[in-house]
């Protein structure tokens, strides 16, 4: 059974009311959605909120998924819309100045993580988180629209046509925004390098 077929089977069972099937479906994608949310929001608390909203949206609209596209594509379309909703609802969402978990204390960074891997090797996990924090700090120079395009193109491998459809813009506009965002990131990386 292919990955998509497994998704389809889990979706069918979840629609029949199987909590177990729904949980398995969520576990297949929650890592991607959480890290997507973390890169966009810059902190684990807002990332959790966004991830929960995404999966609630997926649950409520699951009966509308026809299988015309991959489930992951459909899911990240919802994730994109939820991120846009959240950025409009929370004016302080993704503030550039406060982005970057590197400014958090070790305890603050680790307090949200309770899984066994953290318990076994907290230093490795902390190093990983701080490395990611540097990336989030660089992303912090972008507007949320630019960050969404970078996220969808670099991390989700969406096509420009898909991005254009999600953001209701032309594919050429999406390409221009993408390149503009890359230039800003380059500058920010040089600035960070100079500071370090």
């Amino acid at each position: 059974m292919s990955f998509n077929d497994q998704d389809a089977a889990l979706i069918a069972d979840a629609l029949d009311g199987s909590a177990r099937a729904w949980e398995r479906l969520v576990k297949r994608y929650e890592g991607q959605v959480y890290n997507f949310s973390l890169r966009l929001t810059g902190n684990s608390s807002d990332a959790l909120d966004l991830m929960q909203e995404v999966f609630i949206g997926v649950y409520r609209n699951l009966h509308r998924f026809r299988g015309d596209s991959k489930f992951s594509t459909w899911l990240f379309r919802i994730a994109h819309n939820k991120a846009v909703d959240m950025s409009r609802r929370k004016p302080s969402f993704m503030p550039i100045s406060s982005l970057g978990g590197a400014e958090q204390s070790e305890e603050e960074v680790l307090e949200h993580y309770t899984d066994e891997s953290v318990q076994e090797n907290p230093q490795a996990m902390l190093s990983e988180i701080q490395h990611n924090a540097q990336i989030m700090a660089v992303l912090g120079c972008l507007s949320w629209e630019q960050r969404l395009i970078i996220e969808l193109k670099v991390f989700q491998s969406s096509t420009f046509d898909e991005i254009a459809e999600m953001q209701d813009i032309s594919a050429n506009t999406a390409k221009t925004r993408f390149y503009t965002a890359l230039k800003l990131l380059k500058k920010q990386m040089e600035h960070s390098h100079d500071l370090s």
Binding site: L139, I150, V154, K186, M189
Partner: protein, 230 residues
């Protein structure tokens, strides 16, 4: 140095959906455009830096929405509110009917509901039975009073006679006038005692009569309640 094609060239490099023809055209442009080549190198560096992201573990969270929890725990009710409570209400009414021995009588006037062993008697029959009971009680009490009065009178007469004999023996030479005075005094005492005794019995009879009246009122109340259910 700038090139108006840079955005498209860089985007094409990042776009995996680009066709082979598009890639070949982009490569041809890059071979001849240093601006786009430099921009592409910078963009690749940025992309490489971003891709160093290491996926973080998902913190504990509630994966199953409340709606799905509710769906699992609570089955949708098959009946409406009244549909759910109707069997319980029916069972309660049946228990009450058994407890109070409710009897439903269907006749030409409709139906009547009665409680207890007297169920089925009409109000008139109850009143007639109570009247008979009252009459019998009164007769029995009058006979008892008459017999008791006669007994007491006889015992008092005997007692008075023995007292008189004793007094005569003690006095000896008492005159007939003195005896008559004593007899008159005793007779007056006897009459007074009889009146007091009769008054006491009358109060007793009246008390019984009040009891009967209370029963009558209770019967009327029960008839009223029974009638309101009809």
């Amino acid at each position: 140095m700038t090139c108006h094609e840079t955005a498209n060239i860089v985007s094409a490099y990042f776009d995996e959906s680009s066709s082979a023809q598009e890639r070949k055209a982009a490569q041809l442009h890059l071979d001849s455009c240093s601006a786009c080549s430099a921009a592409l190198a910078d963009s690749q560096a940025v992309g490489a830096h971003l891709r160093q992201w290491q996926d973080e573990a998902v913190p504990q969270w509630q994966r199953i929405p409340e709606q799905l929890h509710s769906k699992r725990r609570v089955q949708k009710p098959r009946f409406s509110f009244w549909g759910q409570w109707a069997p319980l209400a029916a069972a309660f009414m049946l228990a009450l009917a058994v407890m109070f021995n409710v009897q439903v009588d269907l006749n030409s006037d409709g139906f009547s509901v009665a409680f207890g062993q007297s169920g089925g008697m009409s109000p008139d029959a109850v009143a007639a039975q109570l009247a008979q009971f009252e009459q019998a009680q009164r007769q029995a009490q009058a006979q008892t009073l008459q017999a008791l009065s006669a007994s007491i009178e006889e015992r008092q007469v005997n007692s008075n006679a023995r007292l008189l004999e004793t007094v005569i023996e003690q006095l000896g030479d008492s005159t007939s006038r003195s005896i008559e005075q004593v007899m008159a005094y005793f007779e007056a005492q006897r009459q007074e005692d009889l009146q007091l005794m009769e008054a006491s019995y009358q109060r007793l009879v009246d008390s019984d009569f009040q009891t009967v009246q209370s029963m009558q009122q209770l019967a009327n109340y029960v008839q009223y309640q029974g009638g309101s259910l009809q």
